[in-house]
């Protein structure tokens, strides 16, 4: 070793490449098979007192810890539970910031999922707002949630706060 040991080493690059063959799970597979057909379908456990409808189902009624065995048809319409306006770009996505990421509860479900909102004025998006899914063209459908390109506002009255998460498949106006 020479006298001059050189610069202090503060980092080395050791990239980690690991290959995984990811699988969806039974409940998610059932969900994705429907999404592939352009349908949003929730799941519940009929025996549960809570009767919660989960979407996308992850295998159990999380409150009870038991499998969701029954499919429940959901609509394309949903309600904004809450949202954020994101100012950070999504890599490889044509949607430019600022864009809306929202927690949406589809009609007939009791749980929200996260998706994009578009075709909207960002400043007027609000909690309780009614929206609908905008699907990709059928030939592009795959086993993926981004078959729905985004959700866009509907010209429907807002859902009162206490009703968010409880709107039936028939929709909000249908119940009024």
């Amino acid at each position: 070793m020479s006298e001059d040991a050189g610069e202090h080493i503060t980092a080395i690059e050791t990239p980690v490449y690991l290959k995984y063959n990811f699988t969806a799970g039974q409940a998610t597979t059932r969900f994705l098979q429907q999404v592939r057909q352009g349908k949003l379908v929730g799941q519940r456990r009929p025996e549960c007192d809570c009767g919660n409808v989960y979407v996308p189902a992850r295998g159990s009624c999380a409150a009870c810890g038991l499998p969701t065995t029954e499919e429940v048809e959901l609509g394309d319409k949903a309600t904004v539970q809450s949202f954020t306006i994101v100012w950070i770009p999504i890599p490889n996505n044509p949607i430019q910031p600022p864009y809306i990421v929202a927690n949406l509860v589809p009609d007939g479900a009791n749980i929200s999922f996260i998706h994009l909102m578009s075709e909207c004025d960002n400043d007027s998006v609000h909690i309780g707002q009614r929206v609908e899914a905008v699907w990709k063209p059928e030939e592009e459908w795959d086993y993926a949630m981004d078959n729905i390109r985004y959700f866009r506002p509907l010209d429907e009255p807002d859902v009162p706060i206490e009703m968010i998460g409880k709107v039936p498949l028939a929709g909000w106006e249908g119940e009024a």
Partner: protein, 386 residues
């Protein structure tokens, strides 16, 4: 249950990148500082309890395996805790249970994160097939919940800005902090880029390298060191699922239950009066008013008033200062952040918090949360054993 006390505390300098040390060097530094603080050596330690957030942050699987030597564990029990962001707190509690069970007399606990070794944003939300990749990260997940809090409480929009300034001013008193912003102003925070509306850049925590360690000892050994013992008066953990219908994400039941448990153990029924300060996990500014309510310092919908009145500010002479150390908004080595809260609560109680000391503090709360605000770990520490 056996009594247990914190007898040593060690932290590292927190920075965006600690290029001067390896991961082993980082945890060793915190552990060595804690041992020095307790007047001990490696041989005085019976077991080591280590914690950190997901292994993907550094890309080292079950790193206790590799860190065994850096922490003097050859021939000792070593346990690795992982409960998401609350892990710093739960690791301290699991370490305490080693002593409180009577199975061990003195243990070392260490938590760390060296986020510069990898890409935390990727590790938190690495693209998974089947679901849309929204690149929202933790901020994108929590922002809608903060928005719902604002709607419910009618809090003024600058509450978050006030917290961001207050914690940075606190943080400027603490030389260990990653962010040092002694001249920060409300305007500067307001002008900082919006990331996930309502959260601006300066209302978010940084991403830091750092480690924190503590020595926990039983009653017989508690007074052996140069420092006064800090007694653990209560400790609790709670968990609930990420998503279930009817879940209150703004004021989660798991947090309320956890704090009720820890207060009951410590004999606290009026936290604002009976606690002298609190170190609470606030990674985004709006979480201060939200946790003020969740932890019982204010009625539901009223937390923001305490913030705006300056009740939580050391500089404004508030009656219940929160995050005198600067909190997660000043340093955030994720896996260690919870333990730093626990350790800073202990520092306050033994009166050696330096420039950010609360005069005469005797009882303090340390708090951590994680996952989708679903995992909680808390403790109350005090100068008094019982």
């Amino acid at each position: 249950m056996q009594y247990a006390a914190v007898t040593g505390i060690g932290q590292t300098q927190y920075k965006a990148r600690r290029g001067d040390v390896s991961i082993a060097g980082l945890v060793h530094e915190a552990a060595r500082n804690a041992l020095d603080d307790a007047g001990l050596d490696w041989n005085d330690i019976e077991a080591v309890i280590i914690g950190k957030a997901p292994d993907m942050f550094e890309g080292v699987i079950m790193p206790e395996i590799y860190l065994a030597d850096a922490l003097g564990c050859d021939g000792k029990p070593m346990l690795r805790v992982h409960t998401a962001g609350s892990v710093g707190g739960s690791t301290a509690l699991v370490a305490a249970s080693h002593v409180q069970s009577g199975a061990f007399r003195r243990v070392l606990t260490v938590t760390f994160e060296k986020q510069s070794e990898s890409n935390a944003m990727w590790a938190l939300s690495n693209p998974q097939p089947f679901s849309p990749h929204l690149n929202a990260g933790a901020g994108g997940y929590f922002a809608p919940i903060m928005r719902e809090y604002i709607r419910r409480s009618g809090a003024p929009r600058d509450t978050g800005i006030k917290v961001a300034v207050k914690d940075r001013l606190h943080g400027a008193r603490n030389p260990l902090n990653h962010l040092q912003m002694p001249d920060i102003s409300m305007q500067e925070v307001e002008d900082s880029p919006m990331l996930w509306d309502p959260i601006r850049f300066l209302e978010s925590c940084p991403s830091s390298d750092g480690a924190c360690a503590m020595v926990i000892a039983d009653e017989g050994l508690a007074n052996d060191g140069p420092r006064p013992p800090v007694w653990i008066r209560g400790g609790a953990m709670r968990s609930e699922p990420t998503m279930y219908a009817g879940r209150d994400e703004v004021n989660p039941q798991a947090g309320r239950d956890c704090v009720a448990d820890v207060y009951a153990q410590a004999g606290i029924d009026n936290p604002r009066k009976q606690l002298d300060c609190a170190e609470v996990y606030v990674p985004f500014s709006w979480y201060e008013p939200m946790w003020l309510e969740n932890l019982g310092f204010a009625e539901e919908g009223e937390g923001w008033r305490l913030t705006m009145e300056g009740a939580t500010s050391l500089d404004e002479g508030g009656d219940i200062p929160w995050n005198c150390s600067g909190g997660v908004l000043c340093s955030n080595p994720i896996g260690a952040s919870g333990m730093i809260r626990f350790a800073e609560a202990a520092r306050q109680v033994r009166g050696d918090a330096g420039e950010h000391q609360v005069d005469g503090a005797r009882t303090a709360l340390g708090h951590a949360y994680g996952g989708g605000a679903q995992f909680y770990a808390m403790w109350v520490v005090s100068t008094d054993k019982s």
